[in-house]
C-alpha cells in the first residue's frame, strides 16, 4: 500500500474514532447509572457491570487498537494470551476453593 492510499484510508476512519470515543463516554455514564439499579443481588450487579465493561473494552481493542482487520499473527498471540490468563485465574480459584481441607480459616473473632 503506498502512502497516499494509506492516508486516505486513515482519514476515512477519523469519524469512527470520534464516534467510538463519544460512545465510550456515554457507556461510562451508563455503567455508573446501572450500578445504582437493584438487579436482585450484588453478584447480579457485578455481572451487569462486567458485561458493560467488556463491551467498552472490545470497542477500544477493535477500533482504537486496530484489532479489527489486524494480521493473523497478532490474533494468534492474543488467543494464547487468553488461554494462559484463564489458566492463571484457575490457579487463583484453587486458592479460594481450597482443595486441601483445613487450611482456610477465619481471622476474625
Amino acid at each position: 500500500m503506498d502512502h497516499s492510499h494509506e492516508a486516505a484510508h486513515i482519514a476515512a476512519h477519523i469519524g469512527a474514532y470520534l464516534k467510538v470515543g463519544i460512545g465510550l463516554l456515554i457507556l461510562t455514564g451508563v455503567t455508573v447509572a446501572l450500578s445504582y439499579v437493584d438487579f436482585g443481588s450484588r453478584a447480579n450487579n457485578i455481572i451487569v457491570g462486567m458485561i458493560v465493561a467488556t463491551f467498552k473494552a472490545s470497542l477500544v481493542a477493535a477500533i482504537f487498537m486496530h484489532l479489527k482487520g489486524e494480521k493473523m499473527t497478532i490474533w494468534k498471540f492474543l488467543i494464547f494470551t487468553g488461554i494462559f490468563a484463564a489458566g492463571l485465574f484457575f490457579l487463583t480459584y484453587l486458592a479460594h476453593s481450597d482443595p486441601i481441607s483445613g487450611t482456610s480459616h477465619s481471622s476474625h473473632s
Binding site: H3, E6, A7, I10, A11, H13, I14, Y17, L18, V20, G21, L24, L25, T28, G29, T31, V32, S35, Y36, D38, R42, N45, I46, G49, M50, V52, A53, K56, A57, V60, A61, F64, M65, K71, T73, I74, F77, L78, F80, T81, F84, A85, L88, F89, L91, T92, Y93, A95, H96, S104, S106, H108, S109
Partner: protein
C-alpha cells in the same frame, strides 16, 4: 576514542534498525508492532493475576469485612472520562502523522500528555490523600453489641444484609502512644472550631473518638443501605470506642483491609503505567532526535513509534475500564 566506544551502544550507533517501517515478510508487520503486542500479552498476565487475586479475595471475604461505597464516584467517573478522551486524542495524533499533518500531531499529542498528567494529579493530590485522612475501626465481633447504635446490625439482619463491623469517619482522639495521635489532634481542633463542642477529646487514655460517617450516625436508616453517588459530609455525631473492643484501627491505607490493600496496589501499579506512558509520549512530542525531529527524516518511522506507544496507552485505558467499576461502583 570515547565516541568510538559510544557507537557500540544503542541510540548512539549509526547502524540502521531493520523493519522499523517496512513490514517483515514473514510476519507481515513492522517489528515494533509485534514487540508491543507481545509486551501487552505479558501485561495481561500481570494485571490478570492481580484481578484474579482481587476476585477471590472478595468472594472469600467474610461478610462485613469487604467495604463498598468508600470511594468518590464523581471524581472517579471524571478521571475515567479523562483517560477515554486521551485514548481518542492519541489515535488522532497517530492519524495526523500518517496524513503528514505535523501541527495537528503536536496538538493532539500535547492534549494526550495533559490528560495523563491530569489523571495522575487527581489521583495523587486528591483521591489518595482523602483516604489517608479517613479512619476506620473494626470492632471485635464479641464486643459489637455494645456499639449497636453505630453499627445497626439488628436492622441489617432483619433486611437480609451483611453485618457491619466497622465504625468510620474522622479520628478525633486516639489511645496514648497511637501513631495516629497527630492526625487526631489536628482533626479535634478542626472539630472544635466547626462545632464549638469540646467533647471530642476524652479524659481516658485508652479509647478512640470518631466523628462519624453518615452510615454510622444513622445505621438503621434505609438511606444508608446503599452507597450514594454524591459523597456526603461527615455527621457531627461522635462515637467513643474502647481500645479493648477494637480488632483493628487504621486510616484508609493499604493496611486497613484487603479491600484497600488491593485498591492501592492495582491503582498504584496502573498509575505507574500511566506515568510511563506520559513519559514516552513526552519523548515523542519534544523536538528531539527520537521525537518530533524524526518527522523531518523519516515521518513513517515516527508514526509507527506513536502507534506502538498508543497501543500501550489503550491497554492502560482498558485496564482502567475494568478497575473503575469493580472498585468504585460494585
Amino acid at each position: 576514542m570515547f565516541s568510538r566506544i559510544l557507537k557500540y551502544l544503542p541510540f548512539f550507533s549509526d547502524a540502521e534498525v531493520p523493519y522499523t517501517v517496512t513490514a517483515r515478510p514473514d510476519t507481515g508487520l513492522y517489528s515494533a508492532k509485534l514487540g508491543i503486542w507481545l509486551f501487552l500479552a505479558s501485561e495481561v498476565m500481570l494485571f490478570g493475576g492481580l484481578f484474579s487475586a482481587y476476585i477471590f479475595l472478595r468472594i472469600g471475604a467474610e461478610p462485613g469485612y469487604w467495604p463498598s461505597g468508600l470511594l468518590n464516584v464523581p471524581v472517579g467517573t471524571a478521571n475515567t472520562a479523562v483517560l477515554i478522551a486521551s485514548s481518542v486524542t492519541v489515535v488522532l495524533a497517530w492519524a495526523a502523522l500518517k496524513m503528514r499533518q505535523l501541527a495537528k500531531y503536536k496538538f493532539y499529542m500535547a492534549i494526550t500528555i495533559l490528560c495523563g498528567v491530569l489523571f495522575l494529579a487527581v489521583k495523587l493530590s486528591y483521591e489518595w490523600p482523602a483516604k489517608f485522612n479517613h479512619f476506620g475501626i473494626f470492632v471485635r465481633q464479641s464486643a459489637a453489641s455494645k456499639y449497636e447504635e453505630f453499627l445497626g446490625n439488628k436492622h441489617l439482619s432483619e433486611t437480609g444484609q451483611a453485618p457491619r463491623w466497622e465504625i468510620s469517619g474522622h479520628l478525633l482522639d486516639a489511645p496514648k502512644g497511637s501513631p495516629y495521635a497527630e492526625q487526631a489532634h489536628h482533626n479535634a481542633e478542626h472539630f472544635a472550631h466547626e462545632t464549638h463542642r469540646h467533647d471530642a477529646v476524652t479524659e481516658a487514655d485508652d479509647d478512640y473518638v470518631i466523628q462519624l460517617d453518615p452510615v454510622n450516625a444513622d445505621p438503621d436508616s434505609k438511606e444508608n443501605d446503599r452507597p450514594h453517588f454524591l459523597p456526603r459530609p461527615l455527621s457531627s455525631k461522635i462515637a467513643v470506642i474502647k481500645a479493648a473492643d477494637v480488632e483493628s484501627a487504621s486510616t484508609f491505607a493499604p493496611r486497613h483491609s484487603t479491600y484497600f490493600a488491593t485498591y492501592f496496589l492495582i491503582t498504584g501499579l496502573h498509575g505507574l503505567h500511566v506515568l510511563g506512558g506520559v513519559l514516552v509520549f513526552l519523548y515523542l512530542w519534544l523536538p528531539i532526535k527520537g521525537g518530533t525531529k524524526l518527522y523531518q527524516t523519516n515521518p513513517e518511522h515516527l508514526a509507527n513509534r506513536v502507534e506502538v506507544a498508543g497501543l500501550f496507552w489503550h491497554f492502560v485505558d482498558l485496564v482502567w475500564i475494568f478497575v473503575f467499576p469493580i472498585f468504585y461502583l460494585l
